[in-house]
């Protein structure tokens, strides 16, 4: 195990106070993303910096207010440096009701006011129709609508497709349910976004999610989707926590998650290093996405004759749950034979619940 670095020298006395403001009492010790905070503080306080460049800054203590300030400022920097938004844009915030999207909604609306981004913000939520899981979180989102004053739109699988996830699982079991949910959710969000006429969609995916996705794509053989993992806005996370969908006890993703947890314990910055690696991967441009046409059945974007959701729906409606699952099956079978792992269709197939590519 690593040795800890020497304690940093301080400009003021004993280290009892918040390291930033030196006034208030510290409320937090060792937040997970120490390295980012350290780097950020370095930028802020070049001279009077009480930090040495090692990441194992166990003695760093911040008070709550400074913590908020640091966190919000960090997100603002990400937005500004990457030019994520333009004034006047309508932005949909993917809101699950979970911790990440709640934080996202709050912070975005705060920063929008504070820094005058000039954005029109909306909350967009997807109701998959999973009793006991989604009901609770939707209540949270409805509260967010009131608390932050952001208009909310809920799109439900029932409305869009005529099926809830509960009904789907009842029909097809627990094996490929994540495939259905993933495909449907993506379309649902897109359709919701279209209904709201938003220009961009912001999600609360955090560094850990992205790192996990990068890793899983390598393990699965999916290099092409590494490209569009990084086209989403991402926000750094502070507490590692996640609510698993009740339908996905999945040993495979479990391994990856355990591994990332262990990794983070040994070297916290590894999560960000994974993302950096993903960004730097030398992927030939030929492995990018295929041509985009439209689905004959519903008009949604599709690289095949029918979009994936329609294929799956057809299967459900006809009582053929395997339609669209597996290779060289279903209506698009001729096209599917020429599918390379690069095609979006196939990469969606192999996606599991909770992956970035909804």
């Amino acid at each position: 195990m690593e040795e800890t670095a020497a304690k940093p020298r301080r400009s003021g006395g004993g280290g009892r106070q918040c390291c930033i403001c030196h006034e208030r009492r510290p409320a937090l010790k060792r937040p997970k993303t120490l390295e980012q905070i350290a780097t950020f503080l370095l930028r802020l306080h070049e001279k009077s910096c009480c930090i040495n460049r090692s990441t194992e800054m166990l003695a760093l203590k911040i008070c709550r207010e400074c913590f908020y300030a640091v966190f919000e400022e960090e997100i603002h920097q990400v937005i500004v440096e990457n030019q994520l938004f333009k004034p006047g844009e309508r932005i949909g915030i993917g809101a699950s009701g979970g911790k990440d999207s709640t934080v996202l909604a709050y912070v975005l609306s705060e920063l929008n006011k504070r820094h005058n981004y000039g954005l029109d913000l909306f909350l967009l939520s997807v109701d998959e129709g999973i009793t006991g899981y989604r009901d609770d979180s939707l209540e949270t989102v409805k509260r967010n609508e009131v608390q932050y004053g952001l208009p909310l739109k809920i799109v439900s699988y029932k409305d869009l497709y005529g099926w809830t996830m509960d009904e789907i699982v009842k029909m097809i079991g627990l094996k490929n349910n994540c495939t259905f949910c993933g495909v449907f959710r993506r379309q649902a969000l897109d359709r919701g976004a279209a209904l709201l006429k938003v220009d961009k969609l912001a999600t609360g995916h955090n560094a850990d999610d992205i790192a996990e996705t990068v890793l899983l794509n390598i393990l699965r053989g999916d290099i092409a989707s590494l490209n569009h993992v990084f086209t989403y806005a991402y926000f750094k996370k502070l507490d590692y926590f996640s609510t698993e969908c009740i339908y996905s006890p999945n040993a495979y993703r479990g391994f990856a998650r355990e591994f990332i947890k262990d990794l983070e314990r040994i070297r916290p910055r590894a999560i960000l290093d994974i993302i950096k690696s993903g960004e730097d991967f030398r992927i030939a441009t030929s492995t990018k996405m295929p041509e985009q046409g439209t689905c004959e059945r519903c008009g949604y974007i599709s690289s095949q004759k029918w979009c994936k959701a329609c294929v799956l729906l057809e299967g459900l409606n006809r009582g053929m749950p395997k339609l669209g699952i597996g290779r060289s099956r279903g209506l698009n079978s001729n096209q599917m034979k020429t599918d390379k792992p690069t095609s979006r269709t196939k990469s969606i197939e192999s996606k599991q619940c909770g992956s970035l590519d909804f």
């Binding site: 195990m1 090692s54 393990l219 960000l272 993903g278 960004e279 030939a284």
Partner: protein
């Protein structure tokens, strides 16, 4: 995740082995897809390749390979993968002098064995041929002794291990092979006690356990290159197998080395004076273990304590995944194989007329999609990984304070800067002053490689007599 036939997307071992088997082992691959047995060599089962003998089993289960091949076919399948890698990447030519890096472990043992068998056959052909036109390549064995880095003082177990290595190499003749027992501290400057001192100093300066382990790997490569250049070897053979490469893919990703990753995982790495080749690239650790077991190939265990590092975490992780799905390691390597390699990931073209035309032709044919850009890479002096040009740091401090150690540190990649280099400037000075000369020389020589790679790119356009084929 349970494999369930056609619905399974994971590319489970049935398909995985198809992809792993080389063209020459095509019979095995074809019969794989026909056989649907997952049983363990009971009764009716015949070897999937020769369909004559019974498959061998390993007590307690050997995983994917168990109960499919008979011993003969298993061995020839494995050797087939090795030979395919060697020929299609022009790894070993008749005029080459090959240095096999031997660690004592099963993979490098098999590498040594297979290279020996290749050489033995070549020697037999040479003896039998009338015109003796094709010379036989030479083989030497390098054993880099890292005991100074791991053990406090001289160790009986270590001494015994070294004796075992010596006798092992003696047995691998004819043709006879020279053994180079190289204590790793020898790459440092000074006399032997100076060297040990310097090595200890420099290792102690690295506080991160993973960084220390990786640093030792870089020193090991330096040692191998030194042996090669001092003894006229033209190739370095490593026993790196699919499993090891899979771990490297994950560890490089996790250390933020995604850009340089493809450089390390190809069949050929010609960044070095003596290009490094990986003939066991397509063999799984499990297969290599099994072969050692089957053929009684002696391996030598070294008395080092295992360290708890990111690398060991990753090994366990990959082993766990492999257990759950026997094609996982291959999938990882295949995925990473889709990343664009570098120009140095192939054997440099030979224009020496002494080298047979057939060999030169074979080289030209080896189709590896490379990054065609002529712009040269710059390299991290510590780990020799290619650096992203746009991220090569500008030195923004005043000229006067740019000490050599500062310059060295700034030209390293961010991963080495984080996990290897000491943070404190004074510690860094101390560290730098004890670094082995070859490492230090790299920082200044910088572009020696670039000129070579540049020449390579314009090779086809140069008018040389030797290129006129009749």
């Amino acid at each position: 995740m349970a494999c369930n036939g056609s619905a399974c997307q994971s590319g489970c071992y049935k398909k995985g082995d198809e992809l792993a088997a080389p063209e020459e082992g095509g019979a095995a691959a074809a019969s794989n897809s026909n056989s649907n047995s997952s049983s363990n060599g009971s009764g009716n089962n015949l070897c999937v390749k020769c369909k004559v003998k019974e498959p061998f089993t390993v007590a307690g289960g050997g995983g994917g390979e168990d109960g499919r091949f008979c011993a003969e076919c298993f061995r020839s399948n494995l050797f087939g993968k090795f030979r395919h890698a060697v020929t299609s990447n022009a790894m070993i030519g008749p005029t080459d002098n090959v240095l096999v890096a031997f660690s004592g472990g099963p993979a490098s043992r098999v590498a040594l064995q297979f290279v020996h068998e290749l050489q033995y056959k070549a020697q037999k052909n040479f003896d039998a041929s009338r015109d003796r036109s094709l010379p036989v390549f030479g083989v030497g064995v390098a054993f880099v002794d890292e005991s100074a880095a791991h053990l406090p003082s001289s160790d009986k177990a270590m001494d015994q291990a070294i004796e075992d290595v010596k006798s092992l190499v003696l047995e691998l003749s004819p043709p006879a092979k020279e053994l180079h027992h190289f204590p790793i501290e020898s790459i440092c400057s000074g006399d032997s006690s100076d060297q040990r001192e310097k090595l200890k100093e420099v290792l102690n300066a690295v506080t991160d356990a993973t960084g220390k382990e990786d640093f030792l790997v870089h020193l090991r490569m330096l040692a191998l290159q030194k042996i090669a250049s001092e003894n006229g070897y033209t190739r370095v053979v490593l026993g790196s197998c699919t499993s090891r490469i899979a771990c490297h893919v994950i560890s490089a990703t996790v250390k933020g080395r995604g850009y340089s990753l493809p450089a390390d995982i190809q069949y050929v790495d010609a960044r070095w004076e003596a290009p490094v080749v990986l003939p066991l690239h397509d063999c799984l650790a499990q297969e290599l273990n099994m072969l050692c077991h089957l053929d009684g190939l002696k391996t030598i265990e070294l008395p080092y304590e295992p360290q708890s590092t990111i690398n060991s975490l990753i090994s366990s992780f990959v082993a766990l995944l492999q257990e759950e799905n026997p094609s996982r390691e291959s999938t990882i390597v295949r995925t990473a194989g889709k990343l664009t390699p570098f120009a140095f990931n192939r054997i440099p073209e030979i224009n020496d007329t002494n080298v047979p035309l057939a060999t030169r032709r074979r080289q030209k044919r080896s189709s590896l999609k490379l990054n065609g850009s002529i712009s040269s890479e710059s390299f991290c002096p510590m780990c020799y990984s290619p650096l992203i040009q746009s991220k090569v740091q500008a030195l923004d401090t005043p000229e006067a304070s740019k000490t050599n150690s500062y310059i060295f540190g700034s030209s390293c990649c961010s991963s080495c800067r984080f996990q290897i280099l000491p943070q404190d400037p004074l510690c860094m000075e101390h560290f730098y002053s004890h670094l082995p000369p070859p490492l230090v020389a790299r920082a200044s020589s910088g572009n020696a490689h670039d000129i070579r790679s540049l020449r390579e790119h314009i090779q086809d356009y140069l008018l040389l007599d030797s290129d006129n084929e009749q």
